[in-house]
């Protein structure tokens, strides 16, 4: 049990997928304008990422390895992820239309979110079994959501400030993200890997 907790903590905080591994930066910058949109995006990505880690592991062990099609790994993973995102989109459009409009273009863009594909590939690279890859996917998604919501809170406050002209808008957002990433370096060395 202790080992599972280490994986979860490790991927969520220590090797945070956005601030340490620098994956999934475009939705991180794109959807963090409002906190409620950020929470929606975080939940959608968590749903997709967890499902994608499991599905990619299944595809890997069930199809690619027995048939020796390792070179098709990225293609098949992208196919699976795209299907899951499309499924999420249809579900969200029915159940949460407000959130659907708030996320706008960024919902289908989860397919191209490098964090999702990155985590799936990392699962394979570190030869996780099914449970580990599920936890790894869920942990990194949790890290992504936490950082995204934190950053959305910061950007909402930045919008209220009167930042000097050369820094107003995206530049100050990038500087804040940089400082946030530096703060996350405090977690360095918390877990072995």
């Amino acid at each position: 049990m202790q080992e599972f907790f280490m994986i979860l903590l490790g991927t969520a905080l220590v090797n945070n997928v956005v601030l340490v591994k620098f994956l999934g930066l475009c939705p991180f910058m794109g959807v963090s304008r409002r906190v409620d949109a950020a929470i929606g995006m975080g939940l959608a990505t968590t749903f997709v990422l967890t499902l994608a880690s499991m599905a990619s592991w299944v595809v890997e062990t069930a199809i690619l390895v027995p048939l020796g099609l390792g070179f098709l790994r990225i293609l098949s993973f992208i196919l699976v992820i795209a299907a899951i995102v499309q499924f999420t989109e249809t579900v969200m459009r029915k159940l949460a239309p407000g959130l659907y409009r708030a996320l706008g273009i960024y919902l289908p863009l989860i397919t191209t979110n490098c964090a999702v594909l990155g985590v799936a590939l990392l699962n394979i690279q570190e030869a996780h079994d099914f449970a580990q890859s599920l936890l790894y996917g869920f942990g990194s998604a949790l890290g992504f959501t936490t950082v995204l919501v934190l950053f959305a809170g910061m950007r909402e406050r930045l919008a209220q400030l009167s930042v000097p002209a050369p820094f107003s808008g995206p530049p100050i957002a990038f500087i804040s993200a940089g400082l946030l990433s530096m703060a996350f370096m405090g977690f360095a060395g918390l877990t072995p890997n």
Binding site: L150, M154, V163, M182, A183, F184, G186, F187, A188
Partner: protein
Amino acid sequence: MTALASAPHTHSLFTVSRTMVAVMVCLSPATAQGLYQFGWPAVILFALTLAAAWLFEIFCLLLAGRPVAPFAGDGSALLTGWLVAMTLPPWAPWWIGVLGAGIAIVIGKHVFGGLGQNLFNPAMVARAMLLVALPVPMTQWVAPSDPAHAPGLRAALDITFGAGAPVDAVSSASVLGHLKSQFDAGLPMERILAGTASLQDQLFGITAGSLGETSAFLLLAGGLCLMLLRIISVVTPLFLLGTLFGLAALARLLAPESFPPPLLHLTSGATMLCAFFIATDYVTAPVTAAGRALYGAGIGALIFVIRSWGAFPEGAAFAVLLMNACTPLIDTYIRPRIFGRTRTGKPLPLRDRT
């Protein structure tokens, strides 16, 4: 008859510069003890950092085309420079001080738009950036020397501006650094504790450590008098020290051989300075009492986590930055209850006879 202004037409005596001056006065005992103990190099470094902070402030104000007089005089730049200096190693070279002040004032404060607008505590931004970028010069601790054979003024100038501290002078690590290195080397906790300074020395700062962080007792005294002046609220320091002490005591109970006694956490490193002077910084802390409690507890817990398992011996800087990132969210969701409304904002039900 001056131009018309809206109500109210009178004001209290509580002003910005008054609060900054009060904080600096309460910081001075601990600083004085640190400067006395680490001799002339520390004094020069301290003065340099303050001056650099003030000059950077004026430079940024001129660059932004804003009136200099009211800001330079309000002492906020001096206070930031002071806090940066307090966290530096006493005999660090001069450019560390200037660089720290520059980062704090320019990146920490003026990029966000000046006083009251920064998201992160400027002093902690500087300390974290220096710690990450220059690990070696930032961890050169100096044993406290009695003034009899401390370096003279000329020698001090050489240390700060010249070749840097002579090698033999840099010996014992700070309490936490000693703890971290020995523990990683696998020594049992009891032997490590025997090697560190006695509790009494740690309390009064007769140990190696940063320029102003050594004397926990004087910092505590300064913090309490700030509370009496009602400049800072009791909530943040109470929850910070409480959570840190609680977690440390719990860990000590569960695994005595791998955790130091809880009191050591309070008296060592930047805990006291962080609890009373950094975590209570108005601009980057939440506003409501409940928000400040959560903020203080968060910092205390993170300090404990980083010190126990993290790579850095001193976790205060990162803990503060992480909780600064949470402040906007805390302020959005933890709000005072509006008069005549329930906590969720709907009008009170009429049958409610409370």
